[in-house]
């Protein structure tokens, strides 16, 4: 009798176990898929979430260099630099763009934490640089004003 209940229980357990793992797999795959495309997110919060950034700390050791006034919104030079050590990733967000997640740079072991690139900006916005150190994220931002006339007014 005992043996029978024992068998029954183990069977139940394995069955539910299989069911649980089966239901887990697709959800994990889904999450990975969502994470893979932060470029499609349309708000800053969504983009941050999609990029796997739940919380980020503002740090003085991260600097975002960009002009105060962008004369040409289609070409805004941005430089992201950090004195922190062990940086594995640098991400650039432009808060008011239709898709705020602008770019991500994954650094190799020997790379320095300095990246320069040019971005398009739809309108005046904050440019946010986020660096990843271990599991933590540190950020810095810089407001860039976009003028339409191009005369720097």
């Amino acid at each position: 009798m005992k043996r029978r209940t024992f068998l029954k229980n183990t069977l139940m357990v394995t069955a539910t176990g299989a069911a649980v793992s089966a239901s887990l797999i697709p959800s994990v795959a889904l999450a990975a898929e969502e994470k893979a495309n932060p470029f499609k997110a349309t708000t800053l919060e969504e983009a941050l979430k999609a990029a796997g950034i739940d919380a980020h700390e503002e740090s003085e050791e991260v600097t975002v260099k960009a002009p105060d006034l962008a004369e040409n919104a289609a070409v805004v030079p941005v430089e992201i630099k950090s004195s922190l050590e062990g940086i594995s990733e640098i991400r650039v967000f432009i808060a008011n763009n239709p898709t705020p997640h602008a770019a991500s740079f994954v650094l190799g072991e020997s790379s320095e934490a300095l990246v320069k690139c040019r971005f398009k900006m739809g309108k005046s916005s904050d440019v946010i640089g986020v660096v990843k150190v271990g599991d933590k994220y540190f950020s810095s931002k810089k407001a860039v004003k976009v003028t339409k006339g191009g005369c720097g007014g």
Partner: protein, 104 residues
């Protein structure tokens, strides 16, 4: 593809640090712009850039359409004379380009 995308790469060594600069001539269309008839121009942008030095990845960049036309990139890595720096990119229409330079 009839269209040509030119990839230019520059490497410069200074005090054990190699500065890599690159420009790719590419339209980088966002998919939000419209042509004269008001039709949307489909998006066309570089998605991934991989830079290797002596076959070791020093930088992978994932770009969205917000990167400017004819994208420019500059970064540093600790390297030495004789490194072979290679840059390869892929866009969302599966066009590819690459450039190679040796550090002097």
């Amino acid at each position: 593809m009839a269209k040509k995308f030119k990839t230019r790469l520059k490497v410069k060594l200074k005090d054990g640090i190699v500065n890599v600069k690159a420009i790719v001539s590419h339209p980088m269309l966002t998919g939000l712009t419209k042509d004269k008839e008001g039709n949307k121009i489909p998006e066309h942008f570089i998605e991934e850039v991989i830079v290797t030095a002596n076959d070791k990845v020093v930088m992978t960049a994932n770009w969205g359409p917000a990167v400017s036309k004819d994208p420019y990139i500059s970064f540093d890595y600790a390297g030495q004379s004789g490194d072979v720096v290679k840059l390869a990119w892929t866009d969302n229409k599966d066009n590819q380009g690459e450039a190679e330079k040796k550090v002097k």
